[in-house]
């Protein structure tokens, strides 16, 4: 595997590439249509700048996420979007990197309140398909100077450019986390309970449903967490008696470990939260809900196409885990309406005119 450790090397490799490249950070998130190309690993590592007093982190794209997390923890800060770790679900090894996380816009349960990876992303440097290094955004959280290409790069899965450096707005890590469990609810009741919880002013930062249990997270300074949790439980009394979770259920929800190592394809559907119950009812398989219902994870028999199940419901379905033939046949990403697809194709053609960066991965 080709490994590059500097922006100049990366630019040179791309400029002189004779054919398609398969771009990789830690290789932990093989999401998308199978790509045929020479593997290229982004090995740029290290923290460029960390200013706790400005809630700002800038780091090289190949830096392992674990390394970042440890440094931020020392200052009681974190990346608030709670990036999903795909390894258990996808059965992959390796180390998740910052660049891979941004390329996948990996976001977890706190997306509800704190936004997705793209919301915390404030700057990027990347090398496009012509081998040109480009900067956009910066290191400050309020910046409207020119077009926002940083957020465009988030979730572009290496098809517009190869990320070399990324900058984030950080947030304080909560001092205390409490989880309320409402047990034994079916999907429609669970969705109603989560909507009710998210209407309260108690700042619920996680709302999920798995195995019949609704999970609701309250976090912040210890002094106010217990009080808010108690009042939230009271506000939801009609859904049953809330219990305090003994163990922290959020990493398992974030990483969808419930479907790890099990037979079947895994789909990820994004819908309006209140449509979740109806969609879940149509799926013949197992379902886990996050984001108050806005994110549906489904485990279904191999080869099932869930897109038809959405019917007239607005949203989209991504085939996250399946045999390469199934991904190639169904397409990992949801087909887009023609005018939107035309713009996306136009952007790819301008940023990667030779079509060598993860070609076909998204379309």
């Amino acid at each position: 595997m080709m490994q590059v450790a500097t922006v100049d090397d990366l630019a040179e490799v791309i400029r002189s590439a004779q054919g398609p490249l398969r771009i990789q950070g830690g290789g932990t998130r093989p999401v998308g249509n199978p790509v045929v190309g020479s593997p290229l690993q982004v090995g740029l590592r290290g923290i460029t700048l960390y200013e706790p007093g400005a809630l700002t982190l800038v780091a090289q794209a190949g830096t392992p996420l674990a390394e970042i997390d440890a440094v931020l923890a020392d200052h009681a800060q974190h990346l608030p979007f709670e990036p999903m770790d795909h390894r258990a679900l996808m059965g992959t090894g390796g180390e998740p990197t910052l660049g891979g996380m941004v390329a996948a816009n990996a976001s977890g349960p706190r997306r509800l309140r704190a936004g997705a990876c793209r919301d915390s992303l404030i700057g990027v440097q990347f090398v496009d398909g012509t081998g040109t290094a480009i900067r956009n955004g910066g290191r400050v959280m309020k910046n409207v100077t020119g077009y926002d290409l940083a957020r465009l790069m988030a979730g572009s899965h290496g098809t517009l450019g190869v990320l070399t450096e990324v900058a984030f707005k950080l947030l304080p890590r909560p001092e205390k986390v409490t989880t309320l469990i409402l047990p034994g609810l079916d999907a429609p009741t669970a969705v109603a309970a989560m909507a009710a919880a998210l209407r309260t002013p108690f700042e619920v930062t996680g709302a999920g449903w798995a195995g019949g249990n609704v999970m609701l997270r309250i976090e912040g300074f210890a002094t106010s967490v217990a009080d808010r949790a108690e009042r939230l439980a009271a506000a939801l009394a009609r859904f049953g008696r809330a219990e305090l979770a003994a163990a922290d259920p959020w990493p398992a929800l974030r990483d969808v470990t419930g479907f790890a190592g099990r037979e079947g394809d895994v789909w990820r559907l994004s819908v309006a939260p209140t449509d979740a119950a109806q969609v879940a009812g149509r799926i013949e398989g197992e379902v886990i809900l996050d984001w108050g219902g806005g994110l549906i994870w489904a485990l279904v028999p191999p080869g099932t196409d869930l897109r038809g199940q959405l019917g007239s419901i607005r949203g989209h379905a991504t085939l996250v885990r399946a045999a390469p033939e199934t991904r190639a046949a169904l397409g990992a990403f949801h087909p887009e309406p023609q005018p939107v697809a035309a713009i996306a194709a136009g952007l790819r053609a301008r940023f990667d005119p030779r079509g060598i960066l993860n070609p076909g991965l998204m379309a």
Binding site: T132, D148, F221, A272, P273, F333
Partner: protein, 501 residues
């Protein structure tokens, strides 16, 4: 840089100077072929819009000759005020066909000249598209036509305990369309983010009339996140006609504390310490002595006479508020404040905010001023304040500072005398220097007002040629003929070849 706000009693004299400025702002020469075809173009527009939605009389188009950057003016060829997405698409198809540039307009409160017309352009105003289309509390969103004003979005849901977070000070007038185009901010960004963080979907019409539906009632994009590029694109990629916005349940309460210091640097250090301590106030506002004095004279808010003053507001449950205010007070005491005034009631909160809220009006009473909008890393605050003070001496012009300190978005106000020959030019030079300083310390030219025509030519200070080229490519894709608001954001020398093609 340069938002020129002329002092009231001197408006007439200032106006002459401003007129002179207007001649200085370089805009592309209007296309004589378009000017010559005005009658035909207007006739075509009248075929698809009712008569009251097409303004072409030269005295009436004057109402659209500028936005809130009033120094630069130019009446457009015509103004259209469509009511639906279909009408917008029809207008754009005609203009595309005729090769006429189109300048989208919301409420015209841009401080960067984003909605400034050229003589050969059609202004496409969305002010009549102000319907509230959908309120959905269970999914925590509203859908509106894009001409709806910012404040009226919150007003529509406030009775049910919700709010729309981005709150520019112009929120009574400015439209969601302009907010999306400028990715506008507000006083509460530190906690709730700016427009892009609260935007779920948009209907966007491209220059050739194609309608795109981007995003929707769900929380992420199926493919490339095109919505994120539309937000902040200053009306250059498409015309936004509808938007789906995230709303949030209102907090139980909010209370400010006022902290006064003997030095700006110490106040800056205190801001950093509060953030480092894991507290996330909804607002941290900073005012320096010139600004405090002006506000005192104007609003009599009872502020202490000091070098620098912070207003820090926290929100949440009563217990959470008490706890956070106690933590902030503890941190502030380490910096020897000369006064620490915690609000204990609605009335005290109102008085603490009174001076800050009247800051811009107060400054306008005593001087002509220019308002800048650069952002800096919060940690660079003491250094930047010191440098601005030094430059202020060098240029011989006073500066008053009032800004959102939590997120580093500065609004230095440079005071000048529009009657004094040369003062305006010095003021502009000084403004450009401050913005260069912002970039030099790791910040940017504009934190929330946008580039428009105002900072167009400073873009090369912040971006290398390939960085600007990458942005221009995005416009090439959305608007290959560069007809949509073409003379903004990019230095004219960069856009020239593309506009001509």
């Amino acid at each position: 840089m340069i938002t020129l706000l002329a002092r009231r009693g001197r408006a007439v004299i200032s106006f002459d100077q401003l007129q002179r400025k207007a001649r200085l702002m370089q805009m592309p020469a209007p296309d004589p072929a378009i000017l010559a075809r005005k009658a035909e173009i207007v006739a075509r527009l009248l075929q698809i819009l009712p008569a009251d939605a097409v303004i072409h009389d030269a005295t009436e188009t004057r109402a659209y000759e500028c936005d809130a950057l009033t120094a630069y003016r130019c009446p457009p060829l015509a103004v259209v005020l469509p009511r639906t997405t279909e009408e917008v698409a029809a207008v754009l198809r005609i203009c595309h066909d005729e090769g006429v540039p189109v300048v989208p307009r919301g409420s015209g409160t841009s401080l960067a000249g984003g909605a400034l017309p050229t003589a050969d352009s059609v202004i496409l105003g969305v002010s009549r598209m102000n319907a509230l289309l959908e309120v959905d509390y269970d999914n925590r969103l509203v859908r509106v036509q894009a001409g709806r004003t910012n404040l009226s979005v919150t007003d529509a849901v406030a009775g049910d305990g919700f709010f729309y977070a981005p709150d520019p000070s112009s929120q009574l007038a400015c439209a969601i369309a302009g907010n999306i185009a400028m990715n506008s901010g507000g006083a509460h960004c530190l906690k709730y983010g700016v427009t892009t963080n609260n935007l779920l979907g948009a209907t966007v019409v491209l220059m050739d009339g194609t309608v795109l539906e981007l995003g929707g009632p769900y929380m992420d994009a199926p493919g490339l996140d095109l919505l994120s590029v539309i937000c902040g694109s200053e009306g250059q990629l498409g015309v936004v006609t509808e938007a789906t916005l995230r709303i949030l349940p209102a907090p139980e309460g909010a209370r400010p504390v006022l902290i006064a210091f003997n030095s700006s640097e110490v106040a800056g250090a205190c801001v950093s310490d509060i953030i480092r301590a894991g507290i996330l106030p909804v607002a941290i506002e900073f005012m320096d002595r010139p600004c405090i004095r002006a506000c005192e004279d104007f609003a009599k808010a009872g502020y202490p006479d000091c070098e620098a003053l912070l207003i820090v507001e926290v929100e949440g449950s009563p217990a959470a508020i008490d706890d956070q205010l106690a933590r902030i007070a503890e941190i502030a005491r380490h910096h020897d404040p000369i006064e620490l005034r915690e609000s204990r009631s609605e009335d005290e909160s109102r008085r603490i905010w009174l001076g800050r809220k009247s800051a811009f009006g107060a400054m306008g009473q005593i001087n002509d001023y220019m308002c800048l909008d650069g952002t800096i890393p919060v940690t660079a605050l003491p250094h930047v304040l010191r440098r601005i003070e030094e430059m202020s001496r060098d240029f011989g012009l006073q500066v008053a500072n009032v800004f959102h300190a939590g997120d580093g978005n500065m609004h230095p106000l440079i005071l000048f005398d529009a009657n004094k020959p040369g003062d305006l030019e010095r003021c502009e030079a000084f403004g450009a220097e401050i913005l260069r300083l912002c970039v030099e310390v790791g910040g940017c030219l504009t934190g929330e007002h946008g580039v428009g025509v105002e900072k167009r030519d400073l873009m090369t200070v912040q971006f290398a040629p390939q960085d600007l080229e990458a942005q221009a490519r995005v416009k090439d894709v959305f608007d290959p003929r560069w007809l949509l608001n073409p003379a903004k954001v990019f230095p004219l020398s960069l856009s020239q070849g593309r506009r001509a093609a």
